[in-house]
């Protein structure tokens, strides 16, 4: 606590406390329905904030959040019976970290737009492989998970979200963060200024995966039942990226705000029994954010588009 006090300004501590108090009191005043929506909001806050590390800071636009989210879910489904959820969360996160390091070695050598598509393919690939293994070797489509009650899940997600937010904030202001931002700007120059780019990218990818995995792990105990389509939905990958882009690449608060607004909007549409207009709205928002960039439109002020620099394919050093 003392360390935190030293590292954060009093304003930031106040904001964080407010966040915790408000979210934690939702089940008390808002009831189950509000709590169940808050759960989704909190998981997207965690996902998009974790996404900022590898995409917002290091510039590798990840379109495969579902891969780690789903891996976390499945690990939690397997491990919760043995370790309880409290043991399963760190264990799943650790598995995701290891998976990210392993996958990162080949994947983080892929540059720019290729990386985006490759990670999209990665999420889909894992979903297909899990489906195949489950149906052919375990003769099952899905798995029952041990459920925890709503309040427990909610508190775990609050802790999870605060942990990611703090982690991302500290990374941003650290030497590591400076290294990541240099990598985003120019990987070759970064390397020649003494930044161990491969190690940094892997570490960033790993940390992103840890928090996506922990989020998935908690959500597994909320779901009660998981199958590959629930664990690895493409929309998780897509929405996380969209929230990150609309909120601003590398903009922690922007990402959180857009996660809150977009998830609430989505839930409103869902409660009316038709989620598709939300997708259309999202598309229109994205288009507007490009067309109106730089203009001071009030609604879009929060939803400000930041310039996204896609890394160019590695060219020979000149």
């Amino acid at each position: 606590m003392k360390v935190l006090m030293a590292l954060l300004s009093s304003k930031q501590i106040a904001a964080l406390t407010l966040f915790i108090v408000v979210t934690a009191s939702v089940p008390v005043f808002g009831g189950t329905y509000a709590a169940s929506i808050l759960i989704i909001v909190l998981s997207f806050i965690a996902l998009v904030s974790a996404w900022q590390i590898i995409s917002g800071y290091a510039g590798y636009i990840l379109l495969g959040s579902a891969a780690f989210y789903g891996l976390g879910m499945y690990m939690s489904a397997l491990l919760t019976p043995i370790l309880t959820l409290y043991g399963a969360i760190p264990a799943s996160a650790a598995v995701c970290f290891a998976a990210a390091l392993g996958l990162g070695v080949p994947f983080l050598r892929i540059k720019g737009p290729y990386f985006i598509i490759a990670t999209l393919a990665l999420g889909e690939l894992i979903r297909n492989i899990v489906t195949f293994t489950e149906t052919n070797y375990f003769r099952t489509l899905g798995r029952i998970t041990i459920m925890y009650d709503l309040t427990t899940i909610l508190y775990l997600l609050i802790i999870n979200a605060v942990a990611v937010i703090l982690a991302v904030y500290f990374i941003k202001n650290s030497k590591f963060g400076l290294g990541l931002m240099s990598i985003k700007n120019d990987e070759i120059a970064a390397e020649s200024c003494g930044i161990p780019t491969t190690k940094y990218k892997l570490l960033a990818f790993g940390i992103t995966a840890v928090f996506m995995g922990s989020t998935g792990a908690i959500m597994a105990s909320r779901a009660g039942y998981i199958d590959p389509d629930i664990a690895f939905p493409a929309y998780i990958s897509i929405y996380t990226l969209v929230m990150g882009i609309i909120g601003g690449l590398g903009n922690l608060i922007g990402g959180i705000v857009s996660a809150i607004i977009l998830t609430l909007l989505f839930e409103i549409f869902l409660s009316m029994g038709n989620p598709y207009p939300f997708g259309i709205l999202l598309g229109i928002l994205l288009i507007l954010s490009v067309l109106l960039r730089g203009k001071r439109v009030t609604l879009l002020r929060i939803f400000r588009m930041q310039k996204i620099t896609v890394q160019k394919p590695l060219s020979p050093a000149k």
Partner: protein, 244 residues
């Protein structure tokens, strides 16, 4: 004492031999030049020294250590910094943060404070009043100085400059040359400078190597090299450019 020694460096790209058995030695605290027409292999040589390419043959000795095959960031940490012919600023970062990258990640600064060092470098290169500007907003000439500044911030023992004078007007060239000499004298940093015409390094280098089609065709003091027949032939047609 020799601080950098290239021994029989070979480099092929597919069919082209970019470097053919090139030997080169650089004395500590000296200024050395590498000249040669476009495509001679000068930049490739820097890329090999800094670890971007592995040579197909030969090795690089720096500070009595064989650094062939080390990663670029390791080589930077050992004390070799470079600039790029086509500048590579971290465009969306402030100039100050750009320089801080060198100060924090380059060769360790011992007990010096990185921020103080970064400011010192900016003052030395005359960019201090641009410290809070985004690097993308620098002018062409400023970017040239900026490249040198960031490399200098890495606290190198040896600084490799790739055509930093190209495209500058005569007045700017004079200023830049003064700056390079000062880096050499005041910071006691060895310098290797690439230029594609001999004139560029005339006033700076104590020793020059001429590359042509990947081969070393001459080496010595600038005025000696200028008189060599094979050098003249290599520049045939561009000779006037070389002299003028």
């Amino acid at each position: 004492m020799t601080i950098l020694r290239l021994n029989k460096i070979d480099k092929r790209f597919g069919g082209i031999k970019a470097l053919k058995s090139v030997d080169f030695e650089v004395e500590e605290a000296s200024i050395a030049g590498i000249v040669g027409p476009n495509g001679a292999g000068k930049t490739t040589l820097f890329n090999i020294v800094t670890g971007y390419y592995k040579p197909d043959g030969g090795y690089v000795i720096f500070d009595n250590k064989n650094i062939t095959g080390l990663k670029p960031h390791q080589i930077c940490k050992m004390g070799i910094a470079r600039t790029y012919q086509i500048v590579r600023p971290f465009k969306d970062m402030r100039v100050f943060d750009n320089i801080m990258v060198g100060a924090k990640f380059g060769r360790p600064l011992d007990k010096r404070n990185p921020e103080k060092w970064a400011r010192e470098v900016l003052e030395f290169t005359g960019l201090i009043n641009r410290a809070n500007e985004f690097a993308r907003n620098l002018t062409f000439t400023e970017l040239r100085r900026f490249e040198v500044a960031r490399a200098l911030a890495c606290n190198p023992k040896i600084l490799l400059l790739d055509e930093v004078l190209a495209g500058l007007n005569p007045a700017e060239v004079t200023v830049a040359c003064e700056m390079i000499k000062k880096i050499n004298k005041e910071f006691n940093i060895t310098i290797v400078i690439i230029e594609h015409v001999l004139k560029g390094v005339w006033a700076l280098a104590e020793k020059v190597m001429v590359l042509h089609h990947g081969e070393k065709i001459g080496e010595g003091k600038p005025e000696e090299v200028f008189k060599m027949k094979q050098v003249e032939e290599a520049y045939l047609g561009t000779r006037w450019e070389a002299v003028a």
